[in-house]
């Protein structure tokens, strides 16, 4: 047998009372892509951080090329040849795309000064290789999260590494980008580079990886060749349930069909324009209806969501809610300051795409994060009622199965998926009439994803209108009653009922491109 690139021996790690990892062992061989899967909070990210020296194990040992190592930090690991893409996009938003790609290893001229011309040229080459279109001199923060994630991938892969670790690299990628990434991983494998691949998208496990290790509650519950397992079995092991049980109740997806007899109009956004990102987008949402927004990266879905919610200003256009929306056919919109606060007051909720910078408040507890938007309802004369808070928090922690040591735990310490659930809970506890979900299942494990999808269904059945954005076309297709296809900030097609399929969406995008030079 070849020597392992990385060998993890019975490592354990506790965080102030939470046992994140408990005697985990894992071998990673050159030339293999090794999947690491498990529920939210199972310990995947923690395991990676132990390997790269972000954290140090309490017990056990990490070997790199058969030598026991204890990296002082990611820097040492990187220098030794372990290149890592961490779970949350970890780049510097204020620096340029090229600057981010080459940070710490900028090309220099003879005087030791950085040559920006060369750097930009090389950056453009890298981007071209990964099919990313972006101006390399622009600040990275201006790009959508998906593009940012691709750039993080490109950065990690453009170093000379013997081991590449990817923590949910595809969580905000389009199928197109995922394909590209799969190709790259193939290439890496042929170069005898070892790849550790964390994902919640089980399809990718079967497409990309040769071996898979399943973590549950900080322990390895399965490890073996991908070929010898099935999707169903994997899900069952992850969740700790019977295969039969999973098969019966299903692990994914929405109930096939809604009662598409949509209720009355609850939201009407007309001709939202914000140059150059949005160009006259109109969206109607009815009670009990799930409206999907489909499009490629940067097509304006997030912009649409934010404009409707009042989070970004628009040049023109109007948003009307409830009775006003119904009464309004063509009427002049009322002039009103539209802001998230106003939107929330009028019954619109939104779960933003970028949970780190726009969503969670890391220093606050799970409880405080959940009740944040509902504060006005939970106070008497400005004072908070513990009882009502706890009741609310309790309900949603249970319902969404948020895994936290207690409602008092800081959100910062939760795993990525659980943070996402906290955000969902924050909006759900407002009992909104319309809910805008921008990538609601990003980074969420299969079990939880199914639950959230079921929840969306259930809420829609109870009369909630939903605007759903997801880079997983499957999710949009299965979940939506109506799909608006966006391209370059404009609606290029509307699909209803049985028309909705991945193919039709892709066609609409392509056709839209032809119509609009």
């Amino acid at each position: 047998m070849t020597t392992a690139a990385v060998r993890v021996r019975a490592v354990s790690k506790r965080f102030a009372g939470v046992r994140a990892l408990d005697g985990v062992s894992l071998d990673l061989y050159p030339g293999e892509a090794h999947a690491l899967v498990g529920e939210n909070g199972a310990g995947k990210s923690t395991l990676i951080k132990l390997i790269t020296g972000v954290h140090h194990p309490d017990e056990g040992q990490v070997c790199y090329l058969d030598e026991p190592v204890l990296f002082a930090g990611p820097r040492e690991a990187q220098a030794a040849g372990i290149s890592t893409i961490y779970q949350e996009v970890n780049l510097v938003p204020m620096r340029s795309v090229a600057g981010n790609l080459f940070l710490g290893r900028e090309p220099t001229n003879r005087l030791g000064l950085i040559s920006f011309r060369r750097m930009n040229r090389q950056a453009r080459e890298v981007l071209r290789r990964y099919g990313i279109t972006a101006d390399v001199r622009r600040p990275l923060g201006e790009l959508g999260l998906g593009v940012q994630q691709m750039i993080a991938v490109a950065r990690a892969l453009s170093t000379d590494a013997r081991v590449v670790i990817m923590d949910e690299p595809t969580s905000s990628l389009e199928p197109r980008e995922v394909d590209r990434l799969v190709e790259v991983i193939e290439l890496l494998r042929r170069q005898r580079i070892a790849v550790l691949y964390v994902t919640h998208k089980l399809d990718e496990v079967f497409r990309v990886c040769q071996r898979v290790t399943v973590l549950r509650d900080g322990r390895v519950v399965h490890s073996g060749p991908v070929a010898e397992t099935t999707r169903l079995r994997l899900v069952a092991t992850m969740l700790g349930r019977d295969v039969a049980d999973v098969r019966e109740h299903g692990a994914t997806s929405f109930s096939e069909q809604h009662q598409a007899a949509a209720g009355e109009l609850v939201l009407r956004a007309e001709a939202l324009t914000r140059r150059p990102l949005l160009d006259g987008v109109s969206v109607d949402v009815h009670a009990g209806e799930v409206v999907g927004l489909a499009g490629l990266l940067g097509s304006g879905r997030t912009e649409t969501a934010k404009a409707v919610f009042g989070a970004d200003p628009v040049d023109s256009g109007s948003v009307r809610v409830g009775a006003e929306a119904r009464a309004s056919a063509g009427a002049k919109p009322a002039r009103r300051r539209w802001s998230p606060a106003a939107a929330i007051r009028r019954g619109i909720g939104m779960v933003p795409e970028d949970r780190g910078s726009e969503g969670v408040i890391g220093e606050l507890s799970v409880r405080d994060n959940i009740v944040l938007a509902a504060l006005p309802r939970l106070t008497r004369a400005g004072f908070l009622s513990d009882r009502r808070q706890d009741a609310l928090v309790d309900t949603f922690v249970k319902r969404l199965r948020i895994k936290a040591s207690s409602p008092d735990q800081k959100v910062r310490e939760l795993s990525g998926g659980n943070q996402q659930k906290v955000l969902l809970a924050r909006m759900l506890c407002l009992y909104p009439k319309v809910l805008i979900l921008d990538e609601p299942t990003r980074g969420i494990d299969v079990g939880a994803k199914a639950e959230i999808q079921a929840l969306i269904d259930e809420l829609a059945a109870q009369g909630l209108g939903v605007l759903l954005i997801s880079s997983e076309l499957e999710e949009v297709v299965e979940g939506s009653d109506r799909v608006l296809v966006l391209r370059d900030g404009a609606v290029v097609g509307t699909l209803r009922g049985t028309e909705i399929s991945e193919d039709r969406i892709m066609q609409a995008i392509a056709a839209g491109g032809e119509e609009r030079p």
């Binding site: 102030a16 007051r345 939970l378 199965r401 895994k403 040591s405």
Partner: protein, 319 residues
Amino acid sequence: MTLQAVRPRDTTKLPQRIQAAGVYIAIAALLVFNLAFTPHFATVTNLRLQLVQVVPVAIVAVGMALVIATEGIDLSVGSTMALAAALIPLYIGYGVWPAIVVALAAGLAMGLASGWLVAFAGMQPIIATLGLLVAGRGLALVLADGRLVELFDPTLGALGNSAVLGVPVSVLIVIGVAVVAGVAMRRTAFGRRVLAIGGNRSAATLAGLPVKRTLVTVYAVSGLLAAVAGVLSTARQGASDPSFVGLLIELSAITAVVVGGTPLSGGRVRIVGTLMGALLMQLITATIIQHNLPDSTARMVQAAIIVAAVYVQRGRSAA
């Protein structure tokens, strides 16, 4: 399903408590040192003196703690004190209370001004309040024509020097302010908003919180409290001294807040810790003076203790 059933009990709190106790440890150490080595330290008079002297810094620091919790900073507090002090003699002809009301109103106005600059004009807090620091003190001096004015008002004197059941009135005011601030931060929606804004302003906005209004309120409270401190200082001194009252108090207050365990990065606040931070600074000064250390040594010792106290409770950002 048992996703959250069998988690080990959360013991997070204990080490954090020990870490957060840096300021308490330092206070205890200084007390022990003084009890052992400083003659006449363990007297009621002396202890009361330390409490009375810490009043202005403590009050200002409570307001500062709220501002810092929003990830802001208020450098204008010292000038606000001066403005309040300068106004008292101008209006004391109408009676003490009207004069005090005018002084407090001026503090509120300063706070509203910095709040507006920060929340609505989008200025960085340190610059907005630096401008007001310079202009505010200038304004106070213009109003007072740069002069110290002695005040012989019995009510004002009582505010500064009398005691209820042995506890000085000004100390009672500090306790009152701290209790209100503590309750507001822990038990009210306002407190929650303050922390949310400090923790992640974009997220707070997207959660529909009235961010600007809250920010303005916080700076207004800070201004008002600074004015209270200005009035109390004036009362105790029996003189309005706009040139020097509150000079550099912003640095002492910020130190007290941070030494008390409130991080400058916002999102967290410790009111009692802030009071303890102020008390620690006072004890350091007292120890230095009572042991007659030269000025140069005094500054260096002070620096060392501040770093040590914060060092003990640092490090949760590490990871």
